[in-house]
Amino acid sequence: MPDIQLMGLFEEPTPAGETIERLRQAGVEENQLTVLSDAPWRPQVLGRRSMGGTIGMMALVGAIFGVMLGLALTGGIWYLYPLLVGGQPIYSVPPSLIIIFEMTMLGTMWTTFAAFLVANRFPVFGNPPFSPQIEDGMIGVLVRTESLQAGAIERLMLEGGAQRVERFEEERRSNDRTWLRAAAATLVAVVGVLAVIELFAYDVLKIEFPSNMVDQPSIAYLQGPRLAAPADAISIDGPDLIAGQPASVPHPMTSNSIQRGQVLFSINCQLCHGPQGKGDGTVGAFFTPKPADLTSRAVQSLSDQQIFLVITQGFGDMPSLRENLYPNDRWDVINYVRTLGK
């Protein structure tokens, strides 16, 4: 059971390569051997065979994945959301070629990088053998072997020209299990973040923040109380409205009000409705039907507001007296008309 690692530090590749050959002749297998250096040496320089790698293959896999992603993106979007734009066909070939090309390249390079990390088990957990002198330019020939053979191998290295030989216990290796767990955790985290984003996208999680055009000024005024019109404004349509109040407030029936109403009645209403409001005015005689009898139960049973509307809007042949009477005056007239009914 290999339980010790020996690292011989060489100053130059020639003694290192010769030592490797001698180690091989002594029975050390290729997979027990690792060469550490601060700059790449061609394997042949050290007497080793070039090794293959999976990264090239993974690049191809990534490219194919990228092509499929590009096709899915273009085809998918245009299938799910077919909107006509600019006389172009819904599935347009030239733009999709551009997207597919970019996706292919993206897939190739990202997969290559991921494969690079996986192949080297980056980041390395654990504490594999290393020496700062390697960054000083030394070439480290690392052999994993059993303790029994350690002495022989150390001698071989020193004879081959090693400046030093360091010993490392077998526990000094990279911890692949931790790496696997870290990689899985990263993957789960990434998927989790994407899932959370999608939860927001599907309104499962919601952040209420003001959306620009939901509150429209073009209907805001319709929903709220209207502005008060100026005091002498004459509305041309609809009843007079004052903010926060019913259609103009009836005046209390004071003697002042009734007196004022009487004067106004004699000016504005008497001609048609007659001096006692019985509908027998001089002008009113010419109308068919005759002006209403204001003393009748039909008129007196109307509410003040209804009479107000009649004065404001007119009724049948009766014209609107909006231009003749201010709203205040109309209430006074109504108060007087009430007394007529008594």
Partner: protein, 485 residues
């Protein structure tokens, strides 16, 4: 004796005994970095020691750039609150400052890939010490460029709608739009440039890890992912770098082509030109190489990298700059003569404006900066290797290329088919501050990165020095070149 020297590491190789040959060897060593081998500890020291020395110049630069960056953020926030009316747009010229910056910075970003990927594929070994600085410039230039479309959006807070993600309302972005191609291409380019730079950075982080102490050691230990330099790791790195180099070059071409298609796909006169694709790519490389020259000169001075970055590098880059200037002139002439010959009225007005109108000073300055200045200076090796001269030429090139983008985007847009809609764009304070901020972002990014990670790929220099050598042929010492695998 001879046998002993074969077993010595390359930095201990002795000088030839003949004094004439020794002088020639000395000359070669002075000129070429890869023939001037030093012990690895010294190589590391030359990079790592200046990184930690923060003098008053560094702090001054940092404060100024950070201030500009802060101004950038504040101005952008103000613009988002007030609306894009604070910018100098009008109802016809709706693309101006931010798109100009966008195209310019993406253009600059091409140089990194060119040097680290294209020159690697073509086996130009002298690129060894400069590739990482160029890639760093690329990444921050792309970052600045990527922020520009966001700043340019009317409702930037809804920018995530351009990302195709499944959502409740079943809405998707429009893949017919060149802006979407832009987004995907730039995302690919930026992410893959970042990964590519990181790959090359790993061995140097491991080297730095062994030579520093304190928080830096923890930082490098974390980032170096446990790199040991085993044969397997080097082999995987080589394969990965090969894949990236070969793959990122077509991406580089495609990115600026797609950016040019933002313009070429429109009906706007002077934009609707099928030559825009290659024209923009060449323009990008041109301005990018110029920017890298400036960055290298500054880093060389600031970090005392005179050992690593030598006249030979500026010589090589200067040659590229000249070739690119010639190529750019060729494409520009193409894009000029075709509408000029066709006499389309709207195009004619634009060209007349450039020749004799209000845009004439800018146009002539552009031609002077992009053609006259490089052609007058870069043919001479003496001028190419003189750092002040070549940096000056590069600055002219930057000015010229920025004006070129301005004329294409902002000026041309003001002239279209209906003369009632001819309007001029005038820059306002907002976009000037934001442009300055973008330049600061790039500069600050490169400065900080050069202080945080080794900006010279020391392992590539080591590899080159161990492979390259000189030997005697006849009466001279000549440089021999070994092909890397």
């Amino acid at each position: 004796m001879a046998q002993d020297s074969m077993h010595l590491p390359v930095w201990k190789q002795p000088f030839p005994e003949d004094s004439e040959l020794a002088a020639q060897a000395e000359e070669l060593r002075r000129e070429h970095l890869l023939l001037d081998a030093r012990p690895p500890k010294e190589l590391a020291d030359r990079v790592l020691t200046p990184m930690a020395r923060l003098g008053w110049v560094f702090w001054l630069v940092f404060v100024v750039l950070a201030g500009a960056l802060l101004t950038w953020l504040v101005t952008w926030t103000n613009q988002m609150f007030q609306g894009l009316g604070v910018v100098g747009y009008n109802r016809v010229v709706m693309w101006a400052p931010y798109i100009i910056n966008f195209v310019y910075f993406i253009g600059i970003g091409h140089a990194g890939t060119f040097i680290s990927a294209a020159l690697r594929v073509l086996r130009f070994d002298w690129r060894a010490p400069i590739s990482r600085a160029a890639e760093t410039l690329t990444i921050f230039a792309l970052a600045a460029a990527g922020s520009m479309p966001l700043i340019h959006l009317g409702r930037a807070w809804k920018a995530y709608w351009l990302i195709p993600y499944p959502n409740e309302r079943g809405l998707w972005p429009d893949l017919h739009s060149p802006l979407l191609w832009d987004m995907i291409a730039i995302f690919t380019y930026l992410s893959c440039s970042l990964l590519f730079e990181y790959l090359g950075l790993l061995p140097d982080l491991a080297m730095a890890r062994e030579y520093v102490t304190g928080w830096r050691k923890r930082f490098y230990t974390l980032l170096s992912l446990g790199w040991r330099g085993s044969g397997k790791q080097w082999k995987h790195l080589d394969t990965a770098q090969n894949v990236f180099s070969y793959a990122i070059i077509p991406v580089m071409f495609s990115v600026h082509t797609i950016v040019s298609w933002d313009f070429a796909m429109t009906l706007q006169p002077e934009w609707h030109s099928s030559i825009f694709g290659p024209y923009f790519v060449v323009g990008a490389l041109f301005s990018g190489v110029g920017a890298v020259i400036i960055v290298l000169a500054v880093l060389r001075k600031a970090l005392h990298l005179e050992y690593y970055i030598r006249a030979e590098h500026f010589n090589g880059m200067g040659k590229f700059l000249l070739v690119l200037s010639l190529t750019w002139a060729y494409f520009y002439f193409n894009s000029y003569i075709v509408p000029w010959y066709g006499q389309d009225p709207a195009s004619r007005v634009i060209l007349q404006n450039e020749a004799t109108g209000w845009a004439a000073p800018l146009w002539y300055l552009m031609l002077f900066s992009n053609i006259v200045v490089p052609w007058a200076t870069l043919w001479s090796k003496k001028l190419r290797t003189s750092i002040p001269v070549i940096v000056g030429v590069s600055i002219f090139v930057q000015i010229g290329m920025y004006i070129e983008r301005y004329l294409i985007v902002a000026m041309s847009l003001g002239y279209n088919y209906l003369p009632f809609n001819w309007l001029t764009y005038t820059p306002q304070l907002t976009e000037i501050l934001i442009t300055i901020g973008a330049f600061s972002l790039v500069t600050l990014g490169v400065v900080l990165t050069s202080r945080l990670v080794p900006i010279i790929p020391v392992w590539e220099v080591k590899e080159g020095q161990r492979m390259q050598g000189m030997r005697r042929i006849g009466r001279a010492m000549v440089q021999t070149r070994t092909e890397p695998e």
